[in-house]
């Protein structure tokens, strides 16, 4: 910064140097077209995949229309496989192998399912929770909704010697197993981290069509859809609850500003509640609806410590830092009934 002269510090003439080779504009068009063609041949399938991840609209329709032929071309040549083999080691992703939703066998129960002791949360039947379990490692996961709460929990628990693994899967959804299969993700998380407890908050992008048990697709939102969704949730829950001392804290999705989104969130929350029934001795359902949107009425801000404070992001869905602090408070309060931690610690 400030010299007080107006020299040509923008260097606008730097491409006029003789060594900068100048060509016809059509070489630029040709070069970019060749690049695009090579990308189609080597990775044409990714265009269609990308379209599936976009919000519905004309943009998605255009990309999807382009994605059909590019996928066909990529599938017709062996080069996509070659590229995948060459770049395989560069991926930053955790290896996902076991536990896909598609591999899970969901039984048809002809008999009356027995109610077992594990269906009861001790606190709900008036027993004092022990609160003496040791929490060495906590996994905080979910979709973008789980941020920045994951960082808040890490800041609160790290000084108490708890290792907090934050693993948000941005843009993912339990109903979108083409993008990321949460059955596989949860298996990989347990395999790699083996946490004592898991905090889960997911629901921003739910509502996508899912494969029905008998084939075909079910669309949101009806009881058939809720059943498929709940079975997926149940598979994830079972994965996280390896032994009786493990705990799972599953947070409900508070009402969003968007009505359609709320319709989906209600189905998600109810599916989670139903899915959790067999393991209520280990699963704690944290109700964020009553904290942030009591009575199902959306609000941007609420009173915290006597001050009106914004708790929802401008998108009307995600939590702000202050909102995340509140959600973390609720989790820690419940967690302190199971584990030897200080819920009040900052």
């Amino acid at each position: 910064m400030p010299p007080s002269t107006h020299a040509d510090d923008s260097e606008m003439s730097r491409f006029d140097r003789p060594e900068v080779r100048k060509l016809s504009a059509w070489w630029a068009v040709a070069a970019i077209s060749i690049t695009a063609a090579l990308l189609v041949v080597f990775s044409g399938g990714s265009v269609k995949k990308q379209a599936e991840e976009l919000r519905p609209g004309i943009g998605r329709d255009i990309i999807a229309a382009v994605g059909e032929p590019t996928k066909w071309i990529a599938d017709a040549t062996p080069l996509a496989r070659v590229q995948a083999d060459i770049t395989d080691g560069l991926s930053s992703e955790t290896e996902l192998d076991e536990g896909a939703f598609a591999d899970a066998a969901v039984g048809s129960a002809d008999e009356i399912p027995p109610v077992t002791p594990s269906s009861f949360d001790p606190a709900a039947i008036g027993l004092n929770p022990s609160g003496d379990l040791k929490l060495d490692k906590l996994l905080v996961t979910g979709d973008s909704m789980s941020t920045p709460m994951d960082a808040v929990l890490a800041r609160r628990l790290s000084p108490q010697g708890v290792e907090v693994v934050r693993d948000p899967k941005l843009g993912s959804a339990i109903s979108d197993d083409e993008f990321l299969d949460w059955g596989q993700v949860s298996s990989a998380q347990v395999r790699d981290e083996d946490p004592d407890a898991v905090v889960m908050l997911i629901g921003a992008g739910e509502g996508l069509p899912m494969e029905a048990p008998g084939g075909g697709e079910v669309e949101c939102c009806n009881p058939e859809y809720a059943a498929v969704y709940a079975n997926r949730v149940r598979q994830i829950m079972q994965t996280y609850l390896g032994d009786p001392d493990k705990r799972l804290y599953w947070l409900s999705v508070p009402r969003s500003r968007n009505d359609r989104q709320w319709e989906i969130s209600q189905l998600v929350n109810e599916s989670v509640r139903v899915a959790a029934v067999p393991w209520l001795s280990q699963i704690r359902l944290i109700d964020l609806v009553s904290i942030f949107t009591p009575g199902g009425v959306y609000r941007d801000s609420m009173e915290i410590d006597g001050r009106d404070t914004i708790v929802r992001d401008s998108d009307g869905l995600h939590l702000t830092e202050a909102g995340a602090e509140l959600a973390a408070d609720a989790v820690l309060e419940r967690m302190a009934q199971d584990f030897a931690i200080d819920a009040e610690s900052e």
């Binding site: 491409f15 060509l23 068009v29 990309i63 560069l90 960082a151 790290s158």
Partner: protein, 465 residues
Amino acid sequence: MLFPTVEFAVFFPIVLFISWALMSRQALWKVFIIAASYVFYGAADPKFCFLLAGITIGNQIAAQAIARAEDAKRRQWIVRVAVTLDLLTLGLFKYYGFFTEEVGNVLDSIGLGMPLPLLEVALPIGISFYTFQAITYVVDVKRGDAEPASLVDAAVYLSFFPHLVAGPIVRASEFLPQLKAPRDPNRVAVGAGISLIALGLIKKVAIADSLARELVDPVFAVPQAYGTPDLVLAAYGWVAQVYCDFSGYTDIAIGLALLMGFVFPQNFNNPLRSQSFREFWRRWHMTLSRFVRDYIYIPLGGSRRGTVRNYFNLLFTMTLMGLWHGAAWTTTLWGTYNGVMMSIEHWSRGRLGRPFPAWVRWFVAINLITAGLVLFRSTDLSQFGVFVEQLFTGGEATLWAWPIVLAVVVVYGFQLLPHRPLQRAQVWIEQRNPVALAFGLAAVILFVGATVPSQGVPPFIYFQF
């Protein structure tokens, strides 16, 4: 729309082809490029297109009024009104929440607590960049550095998609003359454009995002969970990340513009080899530095009104520059810190006897600059305090994986190495056959694309500014 995405990979070849096909018919070309730019901008949220259009029309009316005004006083008033409206728009979207919260805190602390209308306003992407460009337009017209353009030209200037969302901040006097005649289709720097796009993608996707994912984000989210070695690496890693993220974006933007026949100003010039804060700001985000120098610091009097006033001007200008980066105390104080350091440098010039060796000056400057950027990166002052406190606690190196350390070393090393061999290599690459360059660009995209996690490429850091 982000540059490193499939949507943009579909969008750009089509736009490039039509752009050159229409180039000789300027009226049509301008309408097309405005439409394409609004599609690019509206892909994130279509309603913000109205804001961009409103700012364009408002500043165009002001520029025309300035050109028609006969006396200097009237021109001055029109500029003041236009700039005030631009800044109010920016302030409403960017600083409303911050100021209502802070004012509320102050009123509470003096017992005058009252409910202020809280509103979480969505920040339109790129608003800081295009409002600043709109300001350069009316000010340049008033100063006689640029002629008032037609509404269509002004719309092309403000919306041109390569610079729309994160700069560089192109002045009206730099861009509008390029619209006076069709771009020469026989003098396009194809090699330079393609190699800049490839370099930008490597910086952004392969280096910046990897550093963020594996090192910087985890450490800055919970600094109390890490020891001295990890915090030190994260601090240097953050500087490398933000440099690669922003200069990578700039490289891609300049490269795209070159392929379309346009030249943008330089925005980065090896800032990590700086030996002082003053030099750093001549090498880092150069178009913003020029803006604050020419549109704030010099109009305030610069260094012409005495030493004390110069220090005030420096502090004021740099504090505003910090505030521009975000509605938070951390960014504002970071700006002030830079102003203080530049004032100290100014004061000490010639008072400390013989200058220190260059490597000592570099070592001191780069560490002080890094300390400032740690403050900039912290979510709040208490997190910055924790970071600093943890720096002195010892502990183990848990994040010193060789690819991460190598990435940090490479980012610093490339800027410290002698330039001539690197420039020769760059020229050699740029002069290759465009078909070979196309194969090279495709290879870069495929390789860096393989490092992208399933959630996609995170937005550029400077989008939020």
